[in-house]
């Protein structure tokens, strides 16, 4: 498992300097680390977070948005009719609840359809793993700069150390 502080430091090294989002238990360790570093701006909905990221990007920041994959549904219109069409990139750090059907019922449909949903939305995505972390982040940075649209890193359970390991 990747330590949260290692992951946050890797994002900072990539140039990310504006973090917002809505929590998920799988992202708890990352958010705690971001709060310790005073880097996190708490949002109340994922579409708000994505829109704040768009504003921050236009004001010169490199933004990342943390969310549970349920929040992908909430932010869908903002991603499509703001970030995508206006070319306002951000890094989406999305926890993959419902992966392989092993989760509470409310997560199962989104857990199964998320990759297709992202493909349909034409949002580039990768699933993070400990072995490929450095390469995954390099890919995120390159895609962000080249395509100038939101790019997603999917985070499954057990990849990054949470609050309760």
């Amino acid at each position: 498992m990747v330590d949260s502080d290692v992951f946050v430091q890797a994002l900072e090294n990539l140039g990310v300097n504006f973090f917002t989002g809505v929590p998920d238990s799988l992202l708890g360790g990352i958010i705690e680390e971001l709060l310790t570093r005073k880097l996190y701006t708490s949002a109340v909905r994922e579409d708000e977070a994505v829109a704040m990221a768009a504003g921050a990007f236009m004001a010169g920041k490199i933004p990342a948005v943390l969310m549970q994959n349920s929040g992908l549904g909430t932010s869908l219109n903002t991603l499509l009719s703001l970030n995508m069409i206006y070319r306002q990139p951000c890094i989406l750090l999305i926890s993959w609840r419902g992966f392989e059907g092993k989760d509470a019922p409310e997560h199962l449909v989104m857990g199964e359809t998320m990759p297709q949903l992202l493909d349909t939305m034409k949002i580039p995505h990768r699933t993070l793993s400990e072995q490929t972390l450095a390469d995954d982040l390099r890919w995120v940075g390159q895609t962000f700069m080249k395509q100038r649209i939101p790019v997603a890193l999917l985070i499954k359970k057990g990849i990054i150390k949470g609050l309760h390991p």
């Binding site: 504006f18 708000e48 009719s81």
Partner: protein, 192 residues
């Protein structure tokens, strides 16, 4: 029944009065007719015209305001938009960015889709903002009060909400001329 009607200005008249007081401040303008009217009244590179993502104007403005604390950031919003993204009033109220001015043109209708009623005739949005933690909120009707309060908000620390009651009149204004990526690029350069 809209008892206040008749004493009010149109949104375009109110917007024109505010734009006269602005120079190079970033202005985020919500989707629908407000962006089109702003473009017609004064097309400045510091204007960010939204064409979609209804409800997100204040959140975009907040992202700019937090990242550029030295600039006053103005959001031109509508009652339907504020109601849709009402959670953002709480986020603004909690973060209290001093450089954030939230103007709400309240015509009590979804004007861009055919004047269906909103619920801002009974829900006083500036009171919601005040309860959420905005430092200053004002509700105005006529041009004189509008200009007075806006000048005050430009001078003082916020976050502030200026709710201006406007009538339903819509200016004959064309669609946003620039393509969305060009709006982004122009705005970014202008507020650098």
């Amino acid at each position: 029944m809209r008892p206040e009607q008749g004493t009010m200005q149109s949104r375009a008249q109110a917007m024109a009065a505010l734009l006269e007081l602005l120079t190079d401040q970033p202005v985020i303008i919500c989707n629908g007719f407000p962006s089109r009217e702003a473009q017609k009244l004064a097309d400045r590179p510091t204007h960010f015209y939204m064409i979609g993502s209804m409800g997100n104007a204040a959140a975009i403005g907040l992202g700019v305001a937090l990242s550029k604390p030295s600039k006053k950031v103005i959001v031109f919003d509508g009652d339907g938009n504020v109601l849709m993204g009402m959670g953002t009033l709480a986020t603004v109220g909690a973060l209290r960015p001093k450089n954030f001015i939230h103007v709400v043109f309240d015509n009590e209708v979804y004007g861009s889709t055919g004047n269906q009623p909103t619920i801002s005739n009974v829900v006083q949005l500036e009171k919601v903002a005040k309860a959420a933690g905005y430092v200053t909120v004002e509700r105005v009707l006529d041009r004189e009060d509008l200009v007075y309060e806006f000048k005050d908000m430009l001078k003082n620390d916020g976050p502030s909400m200026l709710l201006v009651k406007v009538n339903e009149f819509v200016e004959d204004a064309g669609r946003i001329a620039l393509e969305p990526p060009a709006i982004t690029a122009r705005f970014m350069k202008a507020i650098e």
